[in-house]
Homo-oligomer: 414 residues x 2
């Protein structure tokens, strides 16, 4: 069954605020085999809301509306659903009493507009809200001759989410044919998206029952496999089977078949090898260290590093021979190696990483363009070094360079 | 004029990924007086896409589609717009050549599926994409008898956003009836949102013609003032007047009244004082250095730093006296000061920063909880030091600590 989630509220149509409830609800939906086919965000205008509700009911079976159930003039979700489905609203006496009781515990006189929250759609079931004054509503109805399940939930996350879990999920589990969704995420580094797709499309297109999504971001490729079947084992088996073929095809581009991050994998290999790591960064300015240390427990394998922006610090902090800078320049293969070897020497780490480059927008020369990066990874056995020219602005070049550096460490440890 | 933004991509209908481009585009839209009436998220299914496009064209004047322009089988935005508007797609010869040229610079043979990206909608204008292979497309057309402006943009933020700025905004500015909106963004550091609102609400609520938004994120408070009037000068004057009162009220919490980032302000003060900066980080793991070096031209004032995770490196790299670690522990005010003074001594920087703390989830002791952070900023005149206990997970603690460190540098330089 297909669902749509509509977040209601003009504040979510500003540059400053985003709906996050839908991520939570999507996870719960997927768990019972419901796909989210559309998400929409609509402001507090009744006409727009009616339009969005009718559109949704024309294309999905289950509709979740979040927000617009409060007491103010621009809380219009109840009214919009009533208009879209030609239902009447009745003021519920027990809700009115509950609102008065609630106001009394807060020792305030209840403002008259609060009574809106006692308006119930004809044939709807009220869903008690443990964390706020506006109850949710549940409708099991028809639209255009088809059965539709509709929930009206309050917008604040601490009201919306428990209400969905306690009141909606059990009702949905009864209505939805039992299906289970198996999901797996595989990840590869530094392979161009088009190249990966060329390799993988002939395979995944034959798995018509598995939805395959490729998503690339600065050298990180995420491959998500989703399969929904009445039988849990069958769904899992199809996803695992395709995952295995993806693994075989992408070979050592692939760094995780369980969704781990590249920095997690690097730390995993370091622990496996009982090795330690130190980094000497120039153009990435701390980004490699920052990514590694974002992982809990990084301190078990990561010793530390230096950010050596100036030539003096490359010598004094990272132990690069002074004469080397004059001979080869700060952005060179020799410098990357000297940084990697220097930081190994200074820290006693098993593996040293050196990154130097021109992140831009300034600093380019005739022979050294913006985006040129040299990276070296050294251990007791020797060094791996790469030269790459990355495109994009300063932050893109830095992100690419950090990704490339982590991938080079991974390959050295493999 | 009303607009709708559709983000295309099945990954944004999972619990894991969210559209963020729409926030950026909304800000730019608002700047030229265009309201965003709806936002939608649709997966990579042509039928759903056509449905969403037709729905949008039935209710708004301007439609922005983001994503689905890549080379893979599930990139279907071009095809869906063609179906929705009954337009044909033609393969553009110059685009084919450009794709071949692009592949050549990457020294790869272009995969055949890449050619999809040269498919152009009949009557569309191609929008050159400086940061990727898929060009955008611009359509000035009619639907149901009404004029509609439609942009197809690539999904990756670094492609989507410049394309919108360079290619769409100028075209939209011509098409949209002139209105004047004055906008100003002020920024403050480390003030609790509730405290700021308590101070500011009595003021901004009297400016009923200025829309004021407060948005807080890990110690960074953004205050946006928006005013729309027939007369440009009048709108500007109201916003400036309120901005001045916000400045007076927030005093030195405020670090920018023009929307600059905290790291930009720190670098601005460093240049003003002809001072240099170096950092020694433990729990922030490179985050302070990374934020500073993300600003173009940071190398003029930022010398570098060390990430000293292990006690040995705190001594060998940052010059912390070995006996100090045993006496006070790695997380202490003394250690923060020793890191700041040590890195100053090692690098010759005017200002040294030391950060040490327990980011979690492990590492806490009875007297030192997760979230405890000591930060020191030292120069030739002395040291400022703070102890804070931040709430949240590992990354929240690290972000708070980096923000606090940068703010302490700013206050020292002020």
């Amino acid at each position: 069954m297909k669902s749509e989630i509509i977040a209601v509220g003009s504040e979510m149509l500003t540059p400053f605020r985003q709906d996050t409830n839908s991520l939570y609800i999507t996870e719960k939906f997927n768990g019972i085999g419901v796909t989210v086919a559309f998400k929409s965000i609509v402001g507090d205008r009744q006409k727009d809301l009616v339009n969005a509700i009718c559109t949704a009911l024309g294309r999905v079976d289950i509709l979740i509306l979040m927000g617009g159930l409060g007491p103010t003039e621009d809380d219009l979700t109840r009214e919009a659903v009533a208009e879209a489905l030609s239902l009447t609203l009745r003021r519920d006496a027990s809700q009115v009493a509950a609102l008065h009781a609630r106001a009394a515990t807060w020792r305030i006189t209840m403002p008259q507009n609060n009574l809106k929250q006692a308006d119930v759609l004809e044939s709807a079931t009220l869903l008690p809200n443990l964390n706020g004054s506006a109850p949710g509503q549940w409708l099991d109805t028809t639209f255009g001759g088809y059965r539709k399940l509709i929930a009206l939930l309050p917008g604040p996350p601490h009201e919306c989410r428990p209400l969905f879990d306690i009141e909606c999920l059990p009702r949905l589990s009864v209505a939805v044919p039992p299906r289970t969704i198996a999901v797996r995420t595989l990840k590869a580094a530094m392979i161009p998206e088009s190249q990966a797709d060329k390799l993988l499309a002939p395979i995944y297109t034959t798995y018509t029952d598995v939805e395959t999504t490729l998503l690339a971001h600065t050298g990180d490729l995420q491959i998500t496999l989703i399969c929904s079947k009445p039988d849990a084992d069958a769904a899992r088996q199809r996803v695992d089977e395709l995952a295995e073929r993806v693994e075989e095809t992408l070979e050592d581009w692939l760094y995780s078949s369980q969704g781990d991050s590249l920095e997690q994998i690097v730390l995993y290999y370091l622990e496996l090898r009982q090795a330690t790591l130190a980094v000497a960064e120039s153009c990435t300015g701390g980004l490699v260290a920052e990514r590694i240390t974002s992982v809990p427990g990084a301190s078990r394998s990561f010793l530390g590093g230096v950010v050596a922006y100036s030539d003096e610090l490359k010598a004094s902090l990272a132990g690069v021979p002074v004469e080397l800078i004059g001979r080869h320049g700060a952005v060179s293969a020799e410098m990357a190696k000297a940084l990697a070897q220097g930081i190994r020497g200074r820290t006693g780490a098993t593996v040293g990483v050196g990154v130097t480059g021109i992140a831009g927008p300034t600093g380019a020369t005739e022979s050294k363009p913006v985006g040129l990066v040299h990276i070296a990874v050294c251990d007791a056995q020797g060094c791996d070094a790469v030269e790459r020219t990355f495109r994009g602005d300063r932050n893109r070049v830095r992100e690419w360079a950090a990704q490339q550096a982590l991938d080079l460490v991974r390959r050295r440890l493999m």
